[in-house]
Each structure stands twice: as structure tokens, then as C-alpha cells.
Symmetry: D2
Subunit: 491 residues, 4 copies
Amino acid sequence: MLKTPEQYKESLRKMRPNIYKFGELIKDVTTHPYTKRTIEGHSRIFKIQREPEFQELVTKVSPLTGDRVSRYLTVNEGPDDMIANSRMKRLMFNLTGTCTGGRCVGYASLNALWPTTYDCDKAHGTDFHGRLKAWLKRSQEADITLAGALTDAKGDRAMGPCKQSDPDMYLHVVDRDGKGGITVRGAKAMICGVAAANEIFILPGGVYKEDEKDYAVSFVVPRDIEGLTVVEARHPSDRRDEEEGFDNPVACGGITQAYLLFEDVKVPAERVFLDGQFDQTKTAITAFTSAYRAAIGSCVAGQGDVMIGAAMLVAQANGLDDKPFRDRIVQMVINNETTFGVGVASGVLGKKHPSGAWLADPLLANVNKVLVGKVPYETKVLAQDIAGGIAETGCMPSFKDLQDERYGKLLKKYLKAHSDADTRVKVARLVEWLTMGAGVPGCMHGGGSPEGAKVLIRANMDLEKKIEMARHLISLEEPIPPKDKEKDKKR
Amino acid sequence: MLKTPEQYKESLRKMRPNIYKFGELIKDVTTHPYTKRTIEGHSRIFKIQREPEFQELVTKVSPLTGDRVSRYLTVNEGPDDMIANSRMKRLMFNLTGTCTGGRCVGYASLNALWPTTYDCDKAHGTDFHGRLKAWLKRSQEADITLAGALTDAKGDRAMGPCKQSDPDMYLHVVDRDGKGGITVRGAKAMICGVAAANEIFILPGGVYKEDEKDYAVSFVVPRDIEGLTVVEARHPSDRRDEEEGFDNPVACGGITQAYLLFEDVKVPAERVFLDGQFDQTKTAITAFTSAYRAAIGSCVAGQGDVMIGAAMLVAQANGLDDKPFRDRIVQMVINNETTFGVGVASGVLGKKHPSGAWLADPLLANVNKVLVGKVPYETKVLAQDIAGGIAETGCMPSFKDLQDERYGKLLKKYLKAHSDADTRVKVARLVEWLTMGAGVPGCMHGGGSPEGAKVLIRANMDLEKKIEMARHLISLEEPIPPKDKEKDKKR
Amino acid sequence: MLKTPEQYKESLRKMRPNIYKFGELIKDVTTHPYTKRTIEGHSRIFKIQREPEFQELVTKVSPLTGDRVSRYLTVNEGPDDMIANSRMKRLMFNLTGTCTGGRCVGYASLNALWPTTYDCDKAHGTDFHGRLKAWLKRSQEADITLAGALTDAKGDRAMGPCKQSDPDMYLHVVDRDGKGGITVRGAKAMICGVAAANEIFILPGGVYKEDEKDYAVSFVVPRDIEGLTVVEARHPSDRRDEEEGFDNPVACGGITQAYLLFEDVKVPAERVFLDGQFDQTKTAITAFTSAYRAAIGSCVAGQGDVMIGAAMLVAQANGLDDKPFRDRIVQMVINNETTFGVGVASGVLGKKHPSGAWLADPLLANVNKVLVGKVPYETKVLAQDIAGGIAETGCMPSFKDLQDERYGKLLKKYLKAHSDADTRVKVARLVEWLTMGAGVPGCMHGGGSPEGAKVLIRANMDLEKKIEMARHLISLEEPIPPKDKEKDKKR
Amino acid sequence: MLKTPEQYKESLRKMRPNIYKFGELIKDVTTHPYTKRTIEGHSRIFKIQREPEFQELVTKVSPLTGDRVSRYLTVNEGPDDMIANSRMKRLMFNLTGTCTGGRCVGYASLNALWPTTYDCDKAHGTDFHGRLKAWLKRSQEADITLAGALTDAKGDRAMGPCKQSDPDMYLHVVDRDGKGGITVRGAKAMICGVAAANEIFILPGGVYKEDEKDYAVSFVVPRDIEGLTVVEARHPSDRRDEEEGFDNPVACGGITQAYLLFEDVKVPAERVFLDGQFDQTKTAITAFTSAYRAAIGSCVAGQGDVMIGAAMLVAQANGLDDKPFRDRIVQMVINNETTFGVGVASGVLGKKHPSGAWLADPLLANVNKVLVGKVPYETKVLAQDIAGGIAETGCMPSFKDLQDERYGKLLKKYLKAHSDADTRVKVARLVEWLTMGAGVPGCMHGGGSPEGAKVLIRANMDLEKKIEMARHLISLEEPIPPKDKEKDKKR
């Protein structure tokens, strides 16, 4: 049953408060200034999933329930789902101006564990796939909001989990109850949208070897489970969340990124989907990154759409039309469509896994991840370029100053352009918010760094085949002897 | 019936010689140094269309004949055909190192006229669609090679066809036989692969208005039709075609681009697919550019694959492995996959036309065209960077000098590196050929200029919707008054 | 006499409070959280101008006083001064991490009015040059801090000052006392470093025509003159100025940008340097932009230096050395040295004005302005790339959370890497501050937009000469007829 | 005494023929199609050094002779010489469209050995500096044309000179006559402008160690010395040198790059400037690369100027003015001025060596080298973009076809645009020549590769200082422990 926005908020209000920011325990995440904007953003999903215009895109008939459920709680089964995935994420950025990250990581996580548990059961005779299916069916019926968490604390980056001075630097199993239940300790860092979520899907943070098998763990917990403390990271300009007025210009969207502190959290068997099967972590990570990175280009495209609109609004407020900015707008469009397009291609050119899941093409998905670490920055620069000096760093007096009895009128007199001062300041603040402020998602490292993506590009690019093509073209048969590496060392 | 390479060449040898270069009439295009390489490249299509590994990709069961025919002679019916289109073109660049342009423009042309003739018949009661279908069925059965021609001479670029001092600057109908047959005059410029083709599909060169209706013409002619003279353009380093040895390193591929001079050529009715219906030229041009530009990114990706291989071969010949070049190779891969991916997305995100043809998404197709005018150049620079000084401009003595009795041995002594001199020179010449020589296709303006693509991006980008998104985000209801353009003028 | 830092601060404390932010009148700018960081940054100038290592660079023997005075209060006399100018500004960014904008605009302003008043006196028999010289001598002796202000409110950007519905949208003379004194009204917007300044040099905001002569005005006022109200703009993350701890990591530098509201301010004759001589505004603007834009590349280079250091500190804290980041660091260095180098060249390739001032080369200066709107953004992206996810958007819990009794220790446990948590968070906050926070100067539009710079590039690039070069190379004598523009219009 | 162009050519005609291309011995380099264009280009130097407009720039009063001599034969003594160096090279590219490489490498070589021999004499008590001075004085008096040669054959790039299977892969001393004279064997590869030179300055090809001291050799030989054989490399489209007409559009300039084969060449003592002092090779290489790379940005700027002119000529011939291309032309200008400016800055910010030579700043010089491997390629792409399809790859019929009796008139009819066909084809050929043809200099690897330049950037960038700046900003005193590399290895 698809929830209404109000039912969604109600589900959050019922949960145990365990989220902190600035030392404060947030009692009601739906009304507290630190979290209400991100929840407002996520609630748009519940609004549009009931509207005919969007329902086909953001929901899907579930093979598990036979009912229409949120697309965020489904397994991708083919190219059409991949295209819908990209379009849905672009739409959500269009509607909220930023990331509704409390859903897409959970979505990618369940799509990663679907084939992983299938393979694991085949290899090890476990029953994880059945557990996952049962949990997913219940979740679809409850229309839960599911966040996802992959990144561990990681400690010294030069060392793996077993070499750390503190074994908790990667989340791991510290106890097993003998009936499939586990106790876990560690932290997950920089996790999006937790405040807006009912549950969190935990993934292993890397590809693990045999001696690291206690780290090879995946499970789902309610966000308010005993032993879990959530501390929200601060983000740029986030103190404006507490202010009145339009200096924080967007009320219907916002980002949160949290540190999840697991102090010996007990997870019952039916929520455990991997426990020690280290050989399955490669599938989990690969399936996750491919699914996630295939769509990330559509996220930044969705925000890029808004940047074009915002920049043009400032231009209009300044008394200008689009003519002087045409080439720059076209370049912004090219940037948006490039990352969107490569993501769509990655989805469409994927392949079917025996579990029924569709896996995105890893080469194109990782190319998209690298693009996302570069192209949208150019779009931001263009937005600032078009929007001019006041928008570049939000270089205007505060909302409070604009209302000041002594000089507020003077400020408004001088901030007026082709539009009145309020309109001009609002739209310029929107550009600031999108390019320098609270609307900026951490897309370069979100879902893994460009550097990691390059490693996967190398693994998938088939250099030898390309060398063969070149040889064939010039009918070169003579082998070139391999480098004598021993000789080199003696140099 | 799918031809063999030999049957293909035989079909060319039977034709009337009407192709010139350097003032010489080429008697046998399959053996003359000026044309044999491009024909060798095109003949690869006939070779692989009989091989199980490639047949599925480069052929397709025709709804018209019920038989397996060359994909280059079919109408795209859905996303799978679009993906195959992109993959086939990438493959052909992989196999020949360059453009087999005597097929893809013809393919795009028939895919443009398929919906155009359908619409035209609906609008004007004409019978062009039936004629096209009949011609296509015959062509599939004969497995012809079909080039395509769009670009007119155009004269003074600041003026349209009717304003030119010479009415022939755009190809036009000068006479009609009353039975549907026409006589045409004019020229088509820079037409790829004519020497390798049996027939040529002629498109209108632009979107025309009522007074330009004699220019709104489309038809197919045999390449050797009476009244048609073909003069091949020269290309960089093409004099090496006449030399022996490996300075022109690729024998299995090459480009030709011709000027087609139509001196009152008579075209019978069954080969005429548009004659005066100026209102249909927009569909023709749009469908052509979308189809063509969707795939052009896979062409440059295919050549980019070879550039990676070629650059690495030089590195190996120099005694180096891929380690120092990893980041640059990854960037080359990213470039290739970006243009390939955006093209695939453009194809997949298209839509079905009532005629049954699948039309690529015009926004993404034109984004791809702009990318193709920029990204592959970076790939070339990286290839030259990796391959070093001798490959950058092919800075080595000629093949003839290497064989010289007096000093050839000395040259080979000093050109030896980790491989012998011959291998090193060959692979460096391949990089030169790909980046500065006869293998460089004119992709920036081929299929229209980036500038024209930007115009179409503007037409398809829906700026107003993006502005609405931004307004919605900040709940901005106040209208911003439009610019008072009269007031501006008075400044 | 060169002031000490304490004497400098004392001079600010003596002034009438007239600066507001968030509705609050700032009583003591040297201690108030909103302004103390920028004043701390500016006070570094007073510290180093007494240190042997830096004195030669940041001071100069004045021809007016015969004493060593601050370089910021001198007229550039030749290439050595231009090089010193670039080096000094780079140094100040090195020392404060950001802009000490309360000095360089004043410096550029006096260098602009020096030749302008000289020419004006020659043309109009006025005595502005003598007044400026006298004022400058007094200012050097008092070692004042001089801000500068050019940008007007400007109202509707599609219209000049006389077409605006409100004549005050550009600052103008509203009364004259008959003895050379004037009364002015209007606003200057986004003025850097006013809180740190003793006086402000006001320039005309554009090139004006005869009917705009009341806008052709230049003068210097004490920052606390009667009738002047200053409202500071807010900048990204500026609420952290009020917090304790290291979330605002830099205490020795900060930016302020103010709106100056002139309500009928009376300026005595000896401080007026232009009043109505509209024909001199072109010289003023050109000399200002050349001087300013020649050096702006060294500002961003100076911040770029710090970004390299900050990014590497995060890498070290994460347990990594520079090896994996070498190429990216080299690219950052290239970016820094490119804008620095083009600025130095612009300074050196300038020319002597009859007034004794050295004028930077306008072509290179404007090229530098365009580079500054592009290159440093790439440097920022690289800094975020190297520094990783926590630095990208400062994605860490707040200082306050790290100290929390309940969970602070857990956060520190999990934020520890190769260094302890505090060090790691501090250095990551520095990267956030430099790339997304309060340290980001508005360099793209500061000193004018890249678009305006392009107009000046066009004016200085001598296209005809380049066409002649090309003609000469191919001995082309035949003229190409100019376009018939009338004919075009008839199309 | 400054030679006239005719005297210069006469001096070449007097030399022993020892240059080969395509297996042919070139009897008279001044008239043979393979070499006459480059000699015509070099002769422009002799023409303008007598013209008042240019004399100040391209000549200088020599401290050795007291007379005005060619600047190419002088030692740079300060910033003014460095600026003149950059301007002179830009001018030569303006006048010839390409590289007059038979002079600038010689110029950089003598400027490298000037400080090297000075240091060497101090360190080893040798008399190389005196010999160099005497030779230079004679050379100035004779107004010789001096090429320079650094790059050895190098064999397997993974090994140094002593590890090669053939000791001749780097040029080395094989005999000494006991009176300071030496016998050398080996090859120098890809040497510019040898055909246009009277003498060649040979440098050591790298920084050598003690066991490589026979490779630490520098000397000057006449180009036609006994035992030296020169084989010219071929370059793109060079067969057009033998054709008539304008397909090779430039008669007043051209590039040659040769392989110099030294078969036991005897060099007398007075021409030997280094022989075994391996510890001086670092100075020689550093001084050479700094001098050369400081100016290389002005070379590509000079060609970039011509590309702008050429592209605009095609646009005019097509019937267009500069309006649609404004942004692209501005970008080309920015590219040109950026490399020019960084080079000027590198020269100006250098320092004085005790020998009197001025040494360019190595950091900026190497930054310039990297820029030159990237920026001019963008300029070329823009030139092709503006000039359109016919210029992109020179896609037009040959000159011979245009004259053909049968169809030449038709071609001219259809190639006519706003200008006649001949003019349009000529200017389009010029763009082809500049971007794809014989006018393309190998600037990426000329004077060393960008990769080598990056190594030198790292050596000069002072990373530690930048890290200190960042630490200082946040008052970070805690040390971050260095990585435990042993521990890493154990992972």
C-alpha cells in the first residue's frame, strides 16, 4: 500500500529519537529545522507516486506482492527499469533541487544483494536469498523508506581492516547467536538521508579476503534500533536552517549525511543477508557500484536542469534575456545530457543475472562516475558566470538586514533591478544554494571516488583487444618482446 | 542474398568508370591506388556478414524479404536496432581503422525518407512510400552498397538557394517528364565512400520554403548514371597511396570524399522519393540528423579504440609498458565510451514513428554531435602524447630511405628500440595515420557542423520548463516582467 | 611611518561605527566575530612590512615622501613594480588563505586615477592630479588602509544610468558647493574589505557619455564619513564566525563584502579627483581594469598554493603520501603558475604613461581575467578530489558534536585515520573552507566579469593584422568583397 | 656583418651535399622541392634583420664584436633579451606560418653551454668557455645559421646508454687525439632545420653519470663535415612539395626534421665544449630546457595568430563575417596569449648566472612546455571548427583537378562561394596546412616531452612550503607521522 506524505511523516514520528546534531537530540525529525527540509524532499516521492503523471515512473507492479509499489523498493529486471531508474532520479533532483539520498542507496543495496544472495546460496547452501525476498515483500507492503550504508570509518587508508590498530575501523560481526542472528560493531560514515528513513540497508564496505570474513556482512536494521546512534554531519551554510526568511531558499529539499555508530547492535537472522561469505563481497560491491554509478549521472543532470533555470531567473531579474547566454546554456545542457546519457547507456547495455536482476554495464557505469567528478563542476561555474557577482558567493545582505527598519528600504532600493529586490535576492540565493550552499551534494565521492572508478575502468577496458585491433590493421605479426623487468631493476 | 567480398568487388568492376582524381579517370576502382583501400575496407562488411561471430550484428531479417539482409539496408524498428547500429559502426572502425562512409549515410538516408515518405503520402496523397519500399526490397535482394549525399555546394553561405547568383548552387529539379520522372542539376559536395558504392541516396540539403520547392527533392541513382561525374577530393598525405611500403600503413581501410557533379541527370519515377513537397523537408532533415548523429559517437569511439592500441604498440616498441600511461589510457577510454554511450542513449530514448521507423532522441543525438567535435581531438592528443616524438608528426625517414643501400642500415640501427626498426616505424606510422594522416575522418563537420547541432539543442532543450523547476523550488510566484525590447532599442 | 599591527587596529577602533550585519551595528570591528578575521588578515600586512624577509616586497621608497611606505599606497612606475605587485598579492593569499581585499582595489584605484587626473588636467585645465598627489602623500605618511569601490547598484542591466526609473541606481553628484566640494548619492555594491579600511577610493562605475556626466565622479572618503552606511553581505557558512572551535578553521584571514549606502554625503574639494569630465572615464576604467586584472591571477595562484598544501595534509592524515596524487598536484601547480605567469607578463609588457605610471598590457590583463573565471575552479575540484569525501562538502560532525559527552569519543574513534581525529577534521575543514566555505573569494566577477574582459580582448586583439599575416603567407592579393549586409537583411 | 638573403643562400650552395630524402641526394638545398621552402622561411630572418621595423628585435649589439649581430647568435643577458626572444620567435611564426627550427635550437644550445662551460672551467680547470667565446665571435662575424641537436637515438627507452646492446644508441666519443680533438659516433634524431643551417651545435642528450662520461660531450660541426650523413624525415602531406599549384599553399616557410648519422666524425679541439665532464650535464640540460621552453609558448602563439587569420579568411570566403565566431576567436586569442604570457614570465622571472647569462625560471618554463602540449591543439580544433568542412581535412579536389579541361570549370562553379573558387580553395588549404599538413610543427615533444617537463615541475614546485602554508593557516602544530612504508609492503 502506497503511503501518503502524511503517513510517511507519521511513520518517522513514531520512531525512537536517536539522531543528534550540534549536540542536540532531535525529538521530531519532521519538524526540527536540522532535518525537516530533507524529510520534506523525501515526502515528495509519496506525493507524486499517487499522481497519474508520475506514477508509471516512480512505482512498479511488484512480482512479489502483485501490487504497485515504490520503484525504490524493487529489483531492476531489464533495460526499461534502468531507464526508469535514471529518469526517476533526475525527476527527484528536479523537484527538490538536490539529493533525496535516503532512498537511492537503499535501492542500489537491495539490487546488489539480490544477485549476491542468489549466488551465495548456490555456492554455500545458505538461505539469504529467501530471507531477502521475504524482507523485501514486507517492506514493499509497508512502503518503507530505506537508506543504505556502505562506507566504513576505514582508519588509516594505507591498511586493510585487519591491520588497523583498532579492529572496529570497519564494521564487523563481534558475536553470533547460533541461530543466524549477529551482533555488530563499527561505524558507517557519511550516510545520506538517514533522518528521512525507516530502515537502513548495510553493505560490506569492500572486497574482503578470508582473514577478513567477519567484515563480510550485510543486513538491514530499523533506523532506531537499540545500540545505534546517529550523528548528522554539518554541511555548508547549514546554520541558515535555523534562520527565518529566504537566505536558505529551498524548503522542499535538503541533504543530510550521518555517521552511524553501531555499539554492539543485535540483528535477528531474518534481517541478515551475508555473514562471513567473503568470496561474495566482490559481487556485492560490483553490483552495487554498477547500479549506483549508472544512475548518478542522472542525479547531477537533474540538478543541472535546475541550475539552468536558476541562472536564467537571475538573468531575467537583472533585466537580461537568454540571448547573451545561449552558448553557455547549451554547454550546460550538453553537460547534463552527457552524464544522463552515459548512465542510460550503462543501464541499457547491461545483462541479466540468473537471479532475475539486471546488472548495469560496469565499464560505462564507472565512466559515468568519473564524469560526475568533473562535468557538473563546469555546469556550476557556468551557472555562477551567468548569474553574476551577487550569486557567485551569495554576495548580498542577509534577509534580516533587508527587513531592517533603519536601512532595509535603502538596501531594497539598491538591490532592485528589472525585478524587485526580494525576487532578485531569492533567485540569487538559489544559485548560491545550488553551487556553494546546502544544496550541493557530495557527488564526486558519493558512491565511491573517481579514483576507484578508474581502477574498475582499467579492469573492464580490455586493452589487449585494442592492441590486437591495431596490430591487425597494419598486419603486424612480429611479437614485441615483453619488458625484461629484472633487467630494469638492475638499472 | 548476401554477397561475398569478391561478388561485391565484381559489382563495382561492372560499372561505368566516372570517377576522377588528380585528373585521371579511374578505370577499376578495386585496384587503383586512389580507391582500392576504401573498397578493401568496405569489403570487410561482406566478409563479416557471413561469419557467425558478427552476423547477428551486421545483418537482420528483413520484414520486406523475409531473408537476412545487410543491416545497412534496413529500417530501424526499435531500441535493439539502435544499439546494433552503434555497435556495428564501432566495429567497422575497429576493423578498418577509419570510416566506411559509403554505407552509413545511405543507411541514415533511407531511415530518414522512410518516415518522410509516409508522412508525405498522408499529407499529399503521393505514393513515395510505396516506391521507397519497392526500391528497398530490390536493393536488399541485390545486397547493394548504398552511399548517401546531403551537402550541396551552397555558394555564398549568407544566402539561401533562391538568392544565389547561380541557381545550381543547390541541387534542384530542372525538368519533369510528366510521369513522375525528373531531371536534376547541381552538385553534392564531400560525399563519403562513393567509389565503394553501387548507388547513391540523394537527400534535400536543407529545410526549404515554398519558393524553394524545386530544391525539395530526394532520389536514388546508380553511381554510374549518365550525366554524373565524380571527382574525389584529396586528403592529407594521400600521395602515399601511390607509394610502396608501410608509410601508408593500412591496406584494409581508407576514406574517400567526392564531389558529385550532376549535369541534367534523368531520374526515373520509381527512384524519386520527394519532388517539391517542401513542407516535408523538415522531417527529412530531422530524421536524418538524429539517426546519423546518434551513431557518430560510436564511429569516433571505434577509432579511439584503435588509437589506444596503436599508442600502446609504440610504447611497447620503445621498451615501455602501460604503467606510466595508465591515466592517459583511462582518459582515452572515458572519451570513447562517453561518445558511444550518449549515442546509445540517444537511440534507446527515441520514439516510434507511425511508419514503423524508430526515431532517435534529437536532443541527445545533437549533444553527441557537439561532443564529437571536441572529445576525439583530446583522444588524438593523448595518442600522440603516449606515442612520443616520432609518431607525433610521423617524424621518421621514408620507407624508401630505410631500404637505401647507402644508409638504410644505419637508419635501422638507430631506429631500433625495444623492437626492431621496421616494427617501430610501422606502429609509429599507424599513429601518424590515425592522428595526422589519411585515416583521419572529418568527423567535426561530417553529418553537419557542431554549430548546427547547437541550434537543434536549443530547439529541443525546453528552457521554460527548467525555469519553472527553479521557480517551484523557491515558491516564486511573482512574475518577472519580460524585457521591453522597444525601450532597449532606444538606448 | 609604517604602522604596527596594533597601531593599525587602534586606527580602526577610533572610527565611528557605521557597519551593520544581521541587523546589528558592529561597535568594534577588530573584535566582533563578523569582522575580526578579515582585520586579522589585513593586519598581517603591517606585521610583514616590518620584517626583513618581506619588506622589500611589500614596501617601497616613495618619491613623494622619500620614505619607505606600503606598496599598496604607491604608483607603479615600471616592470619591477608590476612583478612586485603580483608577488605581494600571491604572498598575502599564502598568508591569509584568502582575499585581503581592503587594499588591492584601493591600490588599483589610485593607479587608475593617477594617469586619469594627469590627462584630465591637460585636457580640461583642472587640478585633480595635484590634489591626488597631495592626498596620496598624506595617506602614505599616515599609512592608511585604503579600500576601493567601483561597482554601482546598476538597477535594470538593460539600461544605462539615465534611463533608470530611479536616478540613484548609479552613484552621482547631486550638489556642488561651488568651491570644488560635492554631495553624492547612490550605492556601491559588493565592496571588499571595507571593515578593515580607513578610507575608500570611489571610482566611476563605467564609461560615461555627456548626458551622464554627473555620474563621472571619483573621490576618497573616510570609511566613517557622515551619511555613509555600510551593510556587510553574508557569505557561505558565515554563521560559523560566531561559533567556537575549528569548524571555521582560519582565524588569520577572512573576506567581507559590503554595500555602501551614500545618503547625500558631502566630499570636500581636496578629496575630489573627477567631477563631470565624462571623457576621462574611459581612461579611468581601462587603467583600473588593466592594473587589477594583471594581478588577479596571482591572487588565485596564492590561494591555489594553499589548496595544494591543504589537500596534501588531508592525504597525509588519511595515511597516504603524495605518490598517487602526483599528476593532480602537478596540474594544480600548472594552474597556479599559468594565471600567475600571464599576470606577470601583462605587467611587464605594459607601457609608461606620461604621468609616470606604468600601465599593464590590456590584452594580457584581460586574458588573465578570463582565465581566473575558469582555471582556479579546476584547482578546487582537484583539491576536493585529493582530499576525499569528508573534505568535499565538509561532511563531518560539528566541533560541538566532537566534544559531546555522550558520543564525542566514539566520533573521534571513528574519525581517526593515520592522524588523530582532531587533526584530520581540522585539515578537512580547511579544504572545505577553501573550496566551499568562507575562504572562497568571488574571483570570477571580482574586478568585473569574464564577459566584460572578452569585450576588451576583442578590442585589443587586432584581428585585421592576423588576417593580413594569413594572406601574406599564401600571397593572396585578391580582395574578398565585404558582406552585403543590406542584401542579408532582405533574406 | 649581417648577411643578405642571397648571401645566406649562397653560403648554403657552397656546402658539400650530404642530405638525402626519398633516397635522393639533394644537390642544391636552396632549389630542391624537398628543402627550398624551409630555406625560404629561414631567409626571411636575413631579410628583416636589415629592416628598421624589425632590426631592434632580431639583432643585438654583441659585446664580443661591438657590432649588431643576429639575436640568434647571442647570449641572453637579462629580462629584455628574454622578452625579445619570445617576440622574435612569435614574429618568425607569423612570417613563415611555421617553425624556422634551424636557428632556435642552436640559440638555446649556445645559451646552455655558456653557463655550463663557465662552471666547468671553474670546477675542472678546463678552457671550454674561452673556446666557446672565440667560436661565437667568429660565428657572429660570419652571420652563420646554427642548428642545434640534443635528442639521441636512445634505443630501448627502459635502459640508459651503458645498458644498451649497442653502445652507439647515444652519441659518444670513440677516440681522442690527445690535443683536445675528439672522434664521435652515434646519431641525433629529429633535428630541425638542418638543411637551412651552416653549422650544428651538438648537446649531450641527457644527464649522465660517471660511467657514462663518454656520452657527456658537446661540440659544434659544420653541417657538411666529413663522416656526417643527413637523412630528412618525411612529414605529413610532404609529397605535395613536388607538386605545382596551391595544394601546398605556403612557399615562404616549411619544416624539416633530420636524422644525423655520425660515422666517426672528427671534431677539432676549438669546436669541443664538453668532453667527459658528466657532472656538468645537469647544468647543460637544465639551462637548455629552461631557455627553450620559455620561448616555445611564443612559437605556438605565433602560429596561433596565423590560424585565427586563416580561419577568418575561410569564413569571409564563405560569405560570413566574424560575428558568429566571436567567442571562438576570443578563445583562440586567449590560448595564444596564455602560452606567450607564461613564456614571457618565465624569461623575466629568471636569474643571472655568474657567466653573465640570464637563466629563465625553470618552473614557469616547464609549465609552459606542458601547456604547449595541450593548448594549441584546442586552437587548431577551433580553426577547423570556424573554417568548416572543406578545411577540416582539406576536403577539396586537387589543384590539378581544378585545372582539368573536362570538369575543372564545373568544380570551380561549385566551389565558388562569396569569393571565387581559387581564393576559397587556397585559404582552406592554408587551414589544412596549419592544422593537418606540412605546417604542423611537432611542438608536443619538440624540446622534450610534456612528461619530462612534469618531472621538472615536481622538482621545482616546493610542495613542503605549500604544506607549511596550510599548516600555518590553521595553526596546526601536531606532526602527522610519516607513512610506515615497511608496514605497507607487508600488506
